[in-house]
Amino acid sequence: MKRIGTMLLAALLVWAVLGACKPAEKKAAAAKEETIKIGHTVALTGPSATWGQSEANALKMAIEKINAGGGVLGKKLEVIAYDNRADRVEAVNVAKRLIEQDKVVAIIGPAQSGVTNAIREVNNSAKVPVIATTATNPKVTVNDDGSVVPYTFRVCFIDPFQGTVAAQFALKDLKAKTAAVLYDVGDDYSQFLAKYFVEAFTKGGGKITANEAFRSGELDFRAQLGKIKTGKPDVLFLPTMQKEAALAAKQARDLGITATFLGGDGWASPDLIDLAGPAMEGAYFVNIAALEDPAIQDFIKEYKERFKEDPVLPNPLMAYDAALWLADALKRAGSTDGEKLKAALENTKDLPVLTGKLTIDPATHNPLNKPATIQQVKVKDKKFVYVKTFVTTD
């Protein structure tokens, strides 16, 4: 026992020393004055980190601006951010920590629908509002029976809209008559976006030749793609995150599928180009915002100056808007009380935010009149190029 015990002890002590080095920064953050704490649950590591880091940066910018303008209710805002790795279980832990230990008055994020669903019970039972940044699945804020989830909000559009946009773009602009779909059965976002696309595409007169699924974490879709190939679709809709989309595109081209690729906002990370290579040349996807949008140029300039790179849209914009919305709601509520804050959030009309004017539908906690942009992937130029804008009316 002695030898092993000493070995283990030594190992653990080394670990302790390593661990000691990290939290040194935390102590400096101990502000002396009272602040209003806002939680940020975001994917700082993992495949969604490109968006998450950008989101965190933008939120920092937004909060600093608000504080520079005098803060809210006479106090400064303080952001407490934790990494949820876009993992549902981790997000639940993070939410609990934010609410129970750090005592935040509201939480900005998560960015994924599945993750937001996962923490629903936690924040709703604690009456702490959550403003999801890019969670687009309708179930996030509205239950199956039509009732609204009391303390969950979002600042982006929803998938039925996104699916419709994609379908109509395919039908009208790409002149597609047939389409095939390959989606991730383990992801709320992917599964439902596929469903809405299929509905809208069929309603618009198109024909779905194949609707295939794969299991989360899969890498090889060639069996399903082989099946898709036989239907010779004009368009292949890939409502997945960038990693699976890239792989699917590569493999589809390998198999000789010539369809145009189409996707949703899950593609919008720059590493899509790195991962997919030439396979993705000329593909289209729907997004919440585009870099070329004139309304946000100031923001982009500021972001670039500070962080020396382009923001990875749309998350940073959404987080910024969420911060503005939250600050405004706090002012109107006059307190940090959960119920009052919820009511204020629900009753937001024509609030000027970066992406236009924000009006919330109290029955669904969703923003009204949210636009969507279509972007095209240009591999050779290593960028996404803005194509056009769609606007929703319901």
């Binding site: 092993i4 002890l9 653990l12 661990g19 599945g114 383990g186 299991r215």
Partner: protein, 672 residues
């Protein structure tokens, strides 16, 4: 405070699952790498019931447990029946674990891979710890019953277990069921604590955590795994930025422990006065480490020098560790006299309880205790007592079958008859048309050069291998197709060439294990250690075992761990264990191997005694010629699986074929 509560609840939940796996892997010796699947079944069942159907919490948990047990039996039956070698079995469990996960992902009711959010938070500090304590009590009770001993025996040596009549499949299934049930309970509690579950939680990582807990805690202990899992949960929390490193930690720990200390933290021991200091040291190290961080930060904030802070924090941690260690040792010493008094008090109390409750102990048994006499060489001449003991359990059916064959009526009727027995191993013919008869009460010697098939004959009789040809008749019954446990029940017991004891059990428990057919109380009574039945039966089994140990002269070693016995005594223990099976035929396989001349003489005396006093029929395989020649009136000689000579010792010694077989042709020619 909520944070501390979270850690404690997690510890309790994982500890329950680890307890379950400890019973299966630690005690029964079968590695399960897919145990998270049972947690998943329990979690999903309980959650679906409370969430969709508003079933009350404990009922939902119970149903989760039941379903886990059923699933485990479903999976376990084909897998265990196949008698896979241990690593294949482990991999099969891994396969099951993954398959269950995929099925859950595709199941609509469980909402597939997206998971089930919004589970009501019913698990509290109170009820999780209540259930943990309950689980510990039940497990400890279980292990002290005949059911528990059977499982431990299987874990120690499945072949030997079968040879003392313990059927593998039902007992392994029992062990699996218990462990799956506990895992299911743990899963249900977990779901109602995290309020969100999805199939990917129940991954190989979770199975590894629990497995690592058992391995590192000590296979063969309950305290060990619980402590290990507690450490696994607590320590990474102390260095919280390092959630990812937690798994690196487990992995490394697994490698370190399995390589250099496979016994783990507690080995085969439970928490007792002697290893109390160990537990305190562990607590001390944990406490020290948990104080390290806050101390470090406090020093930094007030003084600011990193190195200084490190030193101070290290000193504090070290001081706490040492303090706890000393506390543990001190407590252990202080408790020594208390422990003594407690044990003697308990002993006297139980005696009084039993004598006043008027159970039915037969006169014969009481009489036998008085009939014990001491002979000069220390062997207690109580062997007569053996068969005078009134059996409190009905005789087994196999023995009833043999009732047609009445003992002692015709001395010449063979008790064992082998006809044209044949056995091949691939191309090697081990036994080649062997035939002989053994009369009742005979002491027969079986000799032959190495590889002549002697042990194979024993293995065929006790049904370790199936026979390739020929028949075996025992007391008139054709036992050729019978399985090992049936053969034991019919009255055949054997010992092994390379001793097969249950090393981690005590000497007494080894014999007790063989008495498993004589203790009858139900499993439920066992779990609860039902005061009316269990202690009585256990006491009787213990006394029986002591008596048997006295026969072979081992009564003073009763509480020693069997693996610590010197070689010669181990052989005696094997004989005592074989006698516990109340055999009519005893097969002794090289009992004198490795004994020095004095021990060999003792052994001869012992065998003579057993043979004469009981009228046991005995076949003795031996290489020690003096042992065989002095004991056996008749000797059979085997070579290349065939009988080459049979007769008295004098005849055998002079038989040219025998000499040729042993010395080889050329040498024989020289000798002649």
């Amino acid at each position: 405070m909520a944070y501390l509560e979270a850690i404690l609840i997690n510890v309790a939940i994982y500890a329950i699952a680890t307890l379950g796996l400890a019973i299966f892997t630690g005690y029964t010796g079968l590695f399960s790498l897919g145990h998270a699947a049972f947690m998943a079944v329990g979690a999903y069942t309980a959650s679906i019931l409370t969430y969709f159907y508003k079933v009350p919490f404990f009922a939902a948990l119970a149903l989760g447990v039941i379903l886990s047990v059923l699933v485990s039996l479903l999976i376990g039956y084909p897998t265990l029946r196949a008698r896979l070698r241990s690593d294949y079995f482990a991999i099969a469990t891994l396969g099951f674990g993954e398959a269950v996960k995929v099925i859950l992902e595709n199941f609509d009711l469980t909402q597939g891979a997206r998971g089930l959010p919004g589970i009501p938070k019913f698990s509290t500090l109170g009820n999780t710890y209540l259930l943990l304590v309950l689980a510990i009590i039940l497990c400890r009770n279980f292990l002290k019953t005949t059911y528990g001993r059977k499982i431990i025996a299987i874990g120690q040596d499945p072949v030997a277990a079968e040879m003392i009549g313990i059927p593998l499949l039902p007992n392994q299934l029992l062990s699996l069921g218990i462990s799956a049930g506990l895992a299911g309970l743990s899963g249900g509690l977990l779901a109602h604590y995290t309020t969100f579950i999805q199939p990917s939680i129940f991954s190989m990582d979770l199975s590894s955590l629990v497995t690592a807990g058992v391995v590192c805690g000590g296979m063969g202990s309950l305290t060990g795994p619980v402590t290990a899992v507690a450490l696994f949960v607590i320590i990474p929390e102390l260095f919280r930025g390092f959630a990812l490193w937690r798994l690196v930690f487990y992995g490394m720990l697994l490698v370190i422990i399995i390589n250099w200390r496979p016994k783990g933290l507690f080995g085969y021991e439970e928490l007792n006065r002697k290893n109390l200091p160990k537990l305190f040291s562990i607590a001390g190290i944990t406490g020290g480490l948990s104080l390290f961080m806050p101390t470090y930060r406090w020093v930094i904030e007030s003084r600011g020098y990193e190195i200084f802070a490190l030193l101070v924090a290290g000193a504090v941690a070290g001081a706490v560790t040492v303090l706890f260690g000393l506390l543990g040792k001190g407590l252990s010493l202080a408790l020594a006299p208390v422990a003594e008094r407690y044990h003697s008090l308990r002993g006297r109390l139980s005696e009084r309880v039993e004598s006043t409750s008027g159970e039915l102990w037969s006169e014969g048994q009481r009489g036998a205790s008085c009939a014990v006499r001491h002979t000069p060489d220390g062997l207690i001449d109580g062997t007569t007592a053996l068969y005078e003991t009134a059996r409190l359990t009905p005789e087994s059916s196999k023995e009833n079958e043999a009732a047609n064959y009445t003992a002692g009526t015709n001395v010449k009727t063979p008790i064992l008859e082998l006809e044209e027995l044949r056995k091949n191993f691939g191309g090697v013919v081990a036994v080649d048309g062997l035939s002989f008869k053994l009369s009742e009460g005979e002491l027969l010697g079986l000799i032959g050069p190495n590889g002549s098939g002697k042990t194979t004959v024993f293995n065929l009789i006790s049904s370790v291998y199936p026979v390739d040809g020929g028949t075996i008749l025992f007391r008139g019954m054709d036992i050729t197709p019978w399985g090992p446990t049936e053969v034991v029940e019919a009255g055949v017991a054997r010992t092994f060439q390379n001793i097969r004891l249950f090393g981690s059990m005590t000497v007494l428990e080894n014999v007790q294990a063989a008495l498993h057919r004589e203790g009858s109380y139900s499993l439920l009574e066992g779990f609860l250690q039902w005061p009316n039945t269990v202690p009585k039966v256990e006491r009787r089994l213990r006394d029986e075992s002591r008596r048997l140990l006295a026969v072979v002269g081992l009564e003073r070693e009763a509480d020693r761990r069997a693996s610590t016995l010197p070689y010669g005594l181990q052989r005696k223990l094997e004989i005592a264990r074989a006698l516990a099976l109340r055999p009519k035929l005893l097969l002794l396989d090289e009992p004198a191997a490795g004994l020095n001349p004095r021990e060999a003489t003792e052994l001869v005396e012992l065998i003579k005694r057993i043979h004469q006093d009981e009228g046991l029929s005995i076949i003795l395989i031996e290489h020690h010629m003096d042992v065989v020649m002095s004991l056996c009136p008749r000797i059979l000689v085997l070579n290349f699986g065939r009988l080459i000579a049979s007769g008295t010792p004098e005849q055998i010694q002079k038989d040219p074929r025998v000499l040729q077989a042993y010395l080889g042709e050329k040498a024989y020619a020289v000798v002649r």
